[in-house]
Every structure is written in structure tokens, then in C-alpha cells.
């Protein structure tokens, strides 16, 4: 089957999975909703567009954590004019005229993302990523890629097989043991070296922050491609 793969690498990237209120956290690897959003940006589908749901349904995702990175919490503040902020009741907010809004990022991370789906859909995505409608970014607008996100079309039996292929260029930036996370309905539940869990990142309606659970499995491989 045909699969496309591309790198998500940047000094800072951020993938919110459960990020709300003042501190905006990041998950330790890209979310499917984030990846679909990235494709949507390249394809020119605005937030809340139904075509994003179609993309979500028709694409299966695998993420290889070539370099997991570390979490950085950026101290960010928003200042109120004249030192005041109002709360929802229209009263002065206690705590003064500055709101602290920490933002989390993954620093020094490199992920290889694999998408599997219909050949014509993959080709559409490939073309859009080569000629994006809007300038894409990795989670937040200040997360600019340090490696161009240019996809390649590859052949593999399954997503699992695709993920175990390492080129020489890949090995230069990969760690020795690498975690892999795959959409479960795309593969089989085999062996007991797998962790299976839900991620809340299937796109329902991004503008309203609505997501549904996605079952994934996670296992570790070496940079030689063997299961550990």
C-alpha cells in the first residue's frame, strides 16, 4: 500500500491534547487532530470545515519518535491596560493586572509522521504540502520547522513495516530506541510488548474544541528496525 511520510522537527513544537485554562500543556507527541490541522492548513480548509472530519476518518496515522525531546514551560504574561483586568462578572479581577499564561513546548524533538489512506487522497495531501495554501506550522505559529516538511510517497505492506525503515539520513538524528505510536484499527493487536490506550484527538469540531477518543498502540523499536 501507499504511505506518505514527513518530518516534524523544530526547536520548539507544541501539540495540545488536554490543554485548557491558563497553562497550555503539550502532549509528548503530535496529536492526530494536530496532524489533520496541519494538512488542513496546506489544503486551505478553515477551522471547523467538514472536510477535516473526512480527512480524519480516511487517514490512518503512525508517529515515530525519532528524538523525543524535553518539555519546556515558557513563562508568558498578558498585561491589562492600566493594570486592571475584569472578570466575567465585570468586577476587577483579584490578583492584579497581569495574567500568567504558561505555555508548554517540546524542545529538540523530531517526529516522523506516516499517513496511510487512499492513493488519490495521499496524492492530494502530497501536492498540498508541496504547495501549501497557508503557511503551516507545528502546533503554534511560533513553531517554525527546522527541516522542510516535504513528504515522500513510499510503498509498504503495512504502517508497521513503513515505520521500521530507517534511511542513513534518518539514523543521523535518531536515538537508539525509538517509540512508535500507531492507530490501532490500522494494525493488529499482537504480542504483549504493546501498550494500548486512548488519545483524545480524533477531530470532531476543532473550533468548538470537540474531539473523540482514538485507540492507539505504542511499542519500542531499535534504529535497526527491530522490536524491543
Amino acid at each position: 500500500m501507499k504511505i506518505i511520510r514527513f518530518p516534524f522537527a523544530a526547536p520548539l513544537q507544541s501539540w495540545g491534547e488536554d490543554a485548557r485554562w491558563d497553562t497550555r500543556s503539550t502532549a509528548v507527541r503530535p496529536t492526530k487532530s494536530g496532524i489533520i490541522g496541519f494538512l488542513g492548513c496546506c489544503l486551505g480548509y478553515p477551522r471547523g470545515d467538514e472536510r477535516l472530519n473526512r480527512l480524519n476518518a480516511e487517514l490512518n496515522v503512525a508517529i515515530r519518535m525519532d528524538r523525543p525531546g524535553q518539555i519546556l514551560t515558557d513563562f508568558q504574561t498578558v498585561q491589562g491596560t492600566g493594570g486592571i483586568f475584569m472578570n466575567a462578572e465585570g468586577k476587577n479581577r483579584t490578583g492584579g493586572g497581569t495574567i500568567i499564561t504558561p505555555k508548554q513546548y517540546l524542545q529538540d524533538a523530531w517526529f516522523t509522521v506516516y499517513l496511510q489512506g487512499d492513493k488519490s487522497l495521499l496524492e492530494e495531501c502530497l501536492d498540498a504540502m508541496r504547495h501549501p495554501r497557508w503557511t503551516p506550522y507545528l502546533g503554534r505559529k511560533n513553531c517554525v520547522p527546522s527541516v522542510p516538511v516535504i513528504p515522500e510517497l513510499i510503498d509498504a505492506e503495512t504502517l508497521e513495516d513503513a515505520v521500521t525503515c530507517f534511511s542513513d539520513a534518518d539514523r543521523k538524528h535518531c536515538e537508539e530506541s525509538i517509540a512508535v505510536e500507531i492507530d490501532l484499527h490500522a494494525g493488529n493487536v499482537t504480542g504483549n510488548t504493546e501498550r494500548i490506550y486512548y488519545r483524545n484527538d480524533n477531530v470532531l469540531h476543532a473550533e468548538r474544541n470537540e474531539y473523540s477518543p482514538r485507540l492507539v498502540k505504542n511499542y519500542v523499536i531499535s534504529s535497526g528496525g527491530d522490536r524491543i
Binding site: L12, D74, F75, Q76, D108, R133, W134, T135, S146, P148
Partner: protein
Amino acid sequence: MLIEIHMLKNYPPVNLNRDDSGAPKTCFFGGVQRGRISSQCLKRSWRTSDTFHELNNFGVRTRSMPELVGKRLKELGVGKDYVDLAVRKLTGIANKDGTENKKGNITTQIVIYSNEEIERIAQAVKAAIEEDGDIKTFTKRSPKEFDKLRSCAEDKPVTADIALFGRMVTSPYLADVDAAMQVAHAISTHAVNRESDYFTAVDDLINAGDDESGAGMIGDVDYNSCCYYEYASIDTDVLRDNLKNCEDREELIEKLVPVLIKTMAYTNPSGKQNTFAGQVLPDMVMVECKKDKIPLSYVNAFEEPVSAWGSKPNLVMNSMKKFTDHVDCMDTAYELPVLHRAYFAPRFADQKPARCDEYKQFSALTGACAGWLKEDDPK
């Protein structure tokens, strides 16, 4: 098209942007600790700088919209009673409940307004007053109705700063604006350690020998000295779309890009500047223009950090060498769709990418970038 701006700025000891402990911000890159200036800090310093205001097309970020509209209504000849009432009702705008704000003549939400928006609100209020004919009828209008009077949110002209940096509002009557710019956090090209300045404040009058000797106050200020790589990009299609209701849109865009590049070069964040006075200009400015919007930061040039200590010939030169080598490498390996590449590096003329147009004067570079916009093919 996508315009990408790259700069190298080398600072003396400074603390331009600090974290919650008061120390300059840092991050890890290539496994090594670097100095960092957050993108929000950079954007704010540019947005508020005098250089940027040369554009003369700005919004004001405020909650005092009712007073601004009131002032305009008076100029338009509306009577004081009506104006006072209108001001009170306008405080309910952008408020989910639609009730007036009890805490004074300000709205509960802070929003950026352009002069044209204030004018439109004033005209809409004046029209409502004329329609009502008497103060009793006008009094009955709820703030929610005023929201509706201005519900031409879609065709509101937006100012340059909003078009570039974006705006997010939780009221349905003002449109969110997606930023045309992406600004990366600035990262140092080399490893950084935290340094601390131990200082004392000595009393001018109380001397040693009196009951109290020594310093009146003791403290410390953290600082570091970094050569930062800065990256920002502008999506001209998004910019054009954001400015769609502006007259003279093309003219504004052609002025905006060179003013922005100049602002990035000339402006430094203001954190602790009274103490450190770190006002520098970039040693290198490179501006690229791509037809396909594949953004790329050349930060990986510094993945292996430049050696900061004993750097020969010097830190900036070594940073530039890594930078230009990396640009050439990415150019060749990826055949990036770069239409133009303007390069300016006054101190190190010999170090430049293989494919570029070199400019000896900064104004010549910004002028060239303005010229590219004329070739831009709006989507």
C-alpha cells in the same frame, strides 16, 4: 508568497526577556542550553516601537472605546445627554451578557480598534439617535442592540498591526483575525550559562563609622550575552486577505514589509534596558521570498552550538559561517522554491550564501524586498 526574514543579532550582557525567576529565558536546542527571547516579547517590542509606527495605520488596544466614541459623537454635534447615555450603553459591547459595565465607562474586554472602526460605531450610534428622535426611546435601546448596530464585523477594515499579528476576541461582533506573521522564539547560536550581577545600593549619606555601615540594599540581577538567530515570516496572501476592507491595500502592503524589516532590525526588547542598555543592530539580515509556502528556519545551522569561548576569529563570524553553509546545504538538498534571496552583512562581507543578491546598504535591501511584492500573484 511567503517572505522569510532571518537575522543574527549579537547582544552585550542584557536581560531582555525573563522567566518567573527573573533570569533570562532559556531552552534546550541540540541538547545544549541556549539563551532565548520569546516570540511574544519580540512581537510586542515591534508592535509598540516608533519605527513600526512610521506606517501611521494603527489600532489602539483599549477598553476605553465608549469614551472614544463619545468624543467623536460630540464632534458630530450630538447632544450631551445622548452622548452620556450612548457611552454607558457601549460599555456592554463585547460582553457576553450584554449588560452595561458597572465599573466605569469601559468595556469588559480589551480589544484593538482602528480609527475607522471607532468612526463606524459613532456613525451607527448617531443614526440610531436620529431614528429614535427622543431621549426616552433611545434610553430603551439595550447594549445588545448596539452590538447589532455594529454587526458589520465582516466588512470592518483592520489595521496593519492587527493584520500582521492577529486578534482574538470572544464576542461574536468583532471578527477574529488570523495573524499573517509567524515569529519564532529567538535562540542563541551558542551555549549559554546564567550569569549574575551582585549589586549593592550604597546610601549617599549614612557612612561607615555610623551605627549602620555597609550597603543600604543588596540584590542580584541575572543576565547573559547572546548572539541570537531570529526568524519571522509573512504570508502575503493572508495579509492581503486580512486587509481586504482597507482602501489603498496594495500601497499599504508595499510600505508595510520594508517598515517591518526595519523595525525588526532597529528594535530591541525593553527588558532591563535601563540597567544594561543593550541596543544593537543585526550583523546579518537575510530576506527570502518563496512562491510555495514551505517555511524553513535555518536554526539547524546552530544545532551543534558555535563555540562561544576562544571563538576564532569571533563568535559572530563563526555563527555566520555555520549559517551560510547551512543555507547552501538546504538549498542544494531540497531545491527550495526560493524566488529571491537578499543578503546584508556589513561587517563580514566575504561570508555569504552561494545564491543571493548582496546589498551593501540596509535601505537598499528593504527597497528590494518592497519590489518583490509587485510580482506577487494574489491567490
